[in-house]
Symmetry: D2
Subunit: 160 residues, 4 copies
């Protein structure tokens, strides 16, 4: 089994400096999490964008669609900012014959109480058990991107 | 969706005191992990045994089989020591019509670099996407219990 | 021995929400750290301000000076943002007959790799071993506020 | 300022494998903690013993006394198991003209809620502010080794 990972910024990769520099998007958190979990499968990690998902443009989404369409892997996991994860997921629907799972985190992976490792574990299980299609793995659930939205107050993905 | 969790000891729940008292099995780690992940499903957690999995007897396994058979939930996740997880998984095969996923951790959940949250996320995704049966979610893979064994040196579950 | 703690915002208490809400100052980190350390002395924690230290005004500093002058404790530890810690420390110099130590963190206490617990441990040892005066405990050193400055690039307090 | 560190085993350096291998003493935790704290002083770390402090013999203590007596540094910090820290501290009393501070941890440094970084920060502040002598920095206090004992139940060092 081989899984290809694409890191497209978002809270999961946020690091913190200080009040003058604020946070910014750091190296993909995926690598550390996969090492700590000692995963037993092949993988590659590609860092596509280091942006806040709120700043993503239609051009960004087009280049993501292209990059993933051209990727040879059958199993794709994408880490993405939570605010526009649904939008990006829907924009990937034209891709057939691949199982694609998007996930992210409400708290940076570097936090002690982050949901990053849990969510990534969840996305990795989903990508290998589900038929081709595009899914969102957040809040312990596997969602159809058309039927989910982020509830900012509850910090939870919920049925729409 | 409702998932019932059973904590059956193991490294995932280990806490540490000191050289005189050594480690012992503490409260289920499941609760903290589910709260940090802000999961969006109903659940119950039952602490069945607080033993090292190496000390489990056939009587222990019989009472686990009974408890889970009698549980009304369709989706069951079990946290278990890694050394005899495969054995317990196989002993649960008589249960039909439920999806049962066993998981655990190589490092206590209280460690900064623990695989516990990753593995639990993985088990929770698997339990809701797979048909009835008994599975093991470890090392980022979903295994048939008959076809997997723990490699102690690599700290990894591998194809047998 | 009794130590009175004053939390005056800063990175040490930063929590993270998401791209729309950014970081903000949460509850004092001091409490969790003192509990984890199971400290053997009496203490009180007062949250004076929840501001970024860059936004502190002369009026803020005047009210801090007043609050601490009026506090009955002999030993005072202040957690403060690192960018203007030196300035606040110097503004407290008029207080005689108390040992006052300022500390803070380069990374929020909630981060796995935060320097918060280390720095607080350092400030607490300093406050009980030093004669009356105002000190800064950062980067593993105890500084005279007149002779130290923050090097933003090295994320370190250094001799001026 | 230069501080020489000696790691003499104990809980602070415990790592965990699994039920068959139990906990054992790993690499000194000091290094990671000093890096996370970005300390601004010179240092060397020597790993003297990787033993549980309960297993230390009079011969072990004699060789520790020798190693530290012969060390050129003025400031010495020792990480040590908590169960016999007091005993080792007293055995170092013949050393004059050095400030020596012993510390350790109730929970391994690798735990999220460990007291290791706090205690080490505390020892480092004490070693640079106190006159020559042997001290114990635990539970947020600086103790004379003759006047302190470990309370196992409270997991705290307390006045004797």
């Amino acid at each position: 089994m081989k899984i290809n990972f694409f890191a497209i910024g978002g809270t999961i990769d946020k690091v913190y400096f200080d009040a003058l520099s604020q946070y910014h998007v750091g190296s993909p958190a995926i690598e550390t999490i996969l090492k700590d979990a000692r995963v037993n499968f092949e993988y590659e990690i590609t860092s596509l964008l280091k942006k806040d998902s709120l700043d993503m443009t239609p051009t960004d989404r087009k280049s993501i669609l292209e990059a993933i369409s051209n990727d040879p892997a059958q199993f794709i996991v994408i880490t993405h900012g939570t605010d526009t994860m649904v939008e990006t997921a829907i924009s990937l629907k034209p891709i057939k014959n691949k199982t694609i799972v998007l996930t992210g985190a409400m708290e940076p992976a570097k936090f002690k109480s982050s949901d990053a490792a849990f969510n990534l574990g969840s996305a990795i299980a989903a990508v290998q058990t589900l038929p081709p299609g595009v899914y969102i793995a957040m809040s312990g659930r596997i969602f159809d991107p058309e039927k989910v939205s982020k509830n900012r107050e509850d910090k939870q993905f919920q049925d729409k």
